[in-house]
């Protein structure tokens, strides 16, 4: 694999950019691997990359039933931030944000990380108090965060409407300047390329159909491309985690829901930060192509269909137009849904399981993209050492039995 640099760019210009090598190898599956990762999204690829880089385990396969990053990695709204209230979440997401900050250099792949600032709006007195509390909690955890008054919000984001005569007037907001966006496909492709260069086999169009067990221990995976023996198996299957875990008779505290997102037609730069509002429930940023990227909450019902109901879109466009009346004549270009695995406490599960040699990384719900490198980093540690890293120890599967939940849903008061 050639190194990407200004030199390689110039060299390839002479051949009209027609002879760039493929970014990652396309091997046939080997009969056996030390570690098999089920799921070739960002988290699975990051896990494989850090297994190779941090733990020297390179006899690894990533199995993907479709194409890389074609699930939630390619369907999210690309927001990065680490402004979580509880210490456990703050540490995990902050680790991830720090990895993002050096990711393009680390992977030798431009992941287009843009720390343009994430603004979380407050619309009533309770929001204000809760937001200020969160700013203080974040600062105590060493995470950058500041409170902006109504006027400072307008100064930071001039397109926003701070008029007092709307149903939910803006009374201020919290700002994490190190938050922002990244290019989601590039994150998947960058991890794939860097993992492949270190010897990881990335196998697409390879659906796992069963987990073979001998004496309560996983020994391999049945796939659409034959049986593959595995020393350890890591399940990183997002919305399909319950289905894959079910192959080992493992029940999970997850429910799969559609999460819809949409983009407008591309327009000139109008919004140079990420704006989120939990009270009216919408979040928006502008991509480098110029499209407004818009998201909100899940559809209420369980689904694996990657589509949702229209009224959910209506309920995010309404608040969007109250925040930004100037967007009212924009046309929408595309909308889609991803299947998110929601956990009762809105925190992920990165854990060993009661089945020996089977590890699971799931429950990211509506907020997994921002955690991609950190998730892979701690999950690789968990698989390699057979015990969780201190950062993901609280996110174990047995917290639902012990009662030590990490209840971000109610506490953080943020859209994921």
């Amino acid at each position: 694999m050639s190194n990407y640099s200004i030199v390689s760019l110039i060299r390839n210009a002479f051949s009209h950019h027609e002879h760039w090598g493929r970014a990652w190898r396309d091997p046939a599956p080997k009969p056996a691997y030390d570690v098999v990762i089920i799921g070739g999204g960002g988290h699975g690829l990051a896990t494989a990359y850090y297994l190779a880089k941090e733990h020297g385990i390179t006899n690894v396969a990533v199995l993907e039933k479709g194409w890389l990053g074609g699930g939630n990695t390619g369907r999210n709204t690309t927001i990065l931030r680490s402004n979580y209230l509880w210490d456990e979440s703050a540490a995990l997401y902050e680790k991830s944000l720090q990895l993002y900050e050096g990711l393009s250099q680390d992977l030798n792949y431009n992941t287009m990380v843009s720390q343009r600032g994430v603004l979380n709006l407050a619309h009533n007195l309770h929001d204000v108090r809760e937001s200020v509390r969160r700013v203080n909690a974040l600062r105590l955890n060493g995470i950058d965060s500041e409170w902006l008054t109504r006027e400072q919000v307008k100064e930071f984001c001039p397109a926003i409407n701070i008029a007092p005569d709307v149903r939910y007037p803006i009374m201020g907001g919290t700002l994490q300047r190190r938050g922002g966006t990244a290019r989601h496909d590039a994150v998947a492709w960058g991890f794939a390329r860097a993992a492949s260069a270190r010897g990881v086999d990335i196998i697409q169009n390879c659906e796992v159909t069963g987990l073979r067990r001998v004496g309560g221990k996983v020994v391999g995976v049945e796939t659409s491309r034959g049986y593959i023996q595995a020393g350890k198996v890591g399940v990183v299957a997002a919305g399909h985690s319950s289905v894959v875990a079910g192959m080992a008779d493992l029940r999970l505290p997850l429910e799969s829901h559609p999460l819809q997102a949409l983009v407008s037609e591309p327009i000139k730069p109008v919004l140079d930060c990420v704006v989120m509002s939990n009270a009216v429930h919408v979040y928006v940023s502008q991509s480098d192509k110029g499209e407004l990227v818009i998201g909100a909450g899940i559809d209420s019902y369980n689904s694996y269909a990657q589509r949702g109901s229209f009224h959910v879109i209506e309920h995010q466009i309404g608040p969007l137009l109250e925040l930004f009346p100037i967007f009212s004549r924009l046309r929408l270009l595309r909308h889609w849904a991803g299947i998110v695995d929601t956990c009762p406490d809105a925190s992920p599960i990165i854990s060993k399981t009661p089945v020996e040699n089977l590890f699971i990384n799931c429950g990211w719900g509506t907020g997994g993209f921002k955690a991609t490198p950190g998730s892979g980093w701690v999950f690789a540690h968990t698989i390699a050492r057979n015990e969780p890293h201190v950062l993901n120890a609280p996110f174990s599967l047995d917290r639902f039995t012990s009662g030590y939940l990490i209840d971000e849903h109610g506490a953080a008061a943020v859209a994921h």
Partner: protein, 109 residues
Amino acid sequence: MLLIHCPWCGPRDEIEFAYGGEAHRVRPADPSALSDAEWADFLFLRANPKGVHRERWVHAHGCRRWFNVERHTVTHEILRVYPPGAAAEPDAAVAEAQPPQASQQGVRS
């Protein structure tokens, strides 16, 4: 957008309803006798099937009554609607074979 047949009000738009999650979960008869693992199972573990799912809905902006729905989580097709307290059977395979309209009318009559 789902078109849901309320057993009492007939076919109505999804926005009139609220979702209640997996159906037929029975509260433990003797809660104090349960172990932590049994509580975890009751409170948190869910079937979450890719396929036929039995779930509760409430007609929040209508008759405000709860009922059960059997729905496919990939096609979103509603296979059967039946009143609360009714047995989960006929099982999924049987319900799938029946025309959904007929089974819904059966419930309403």
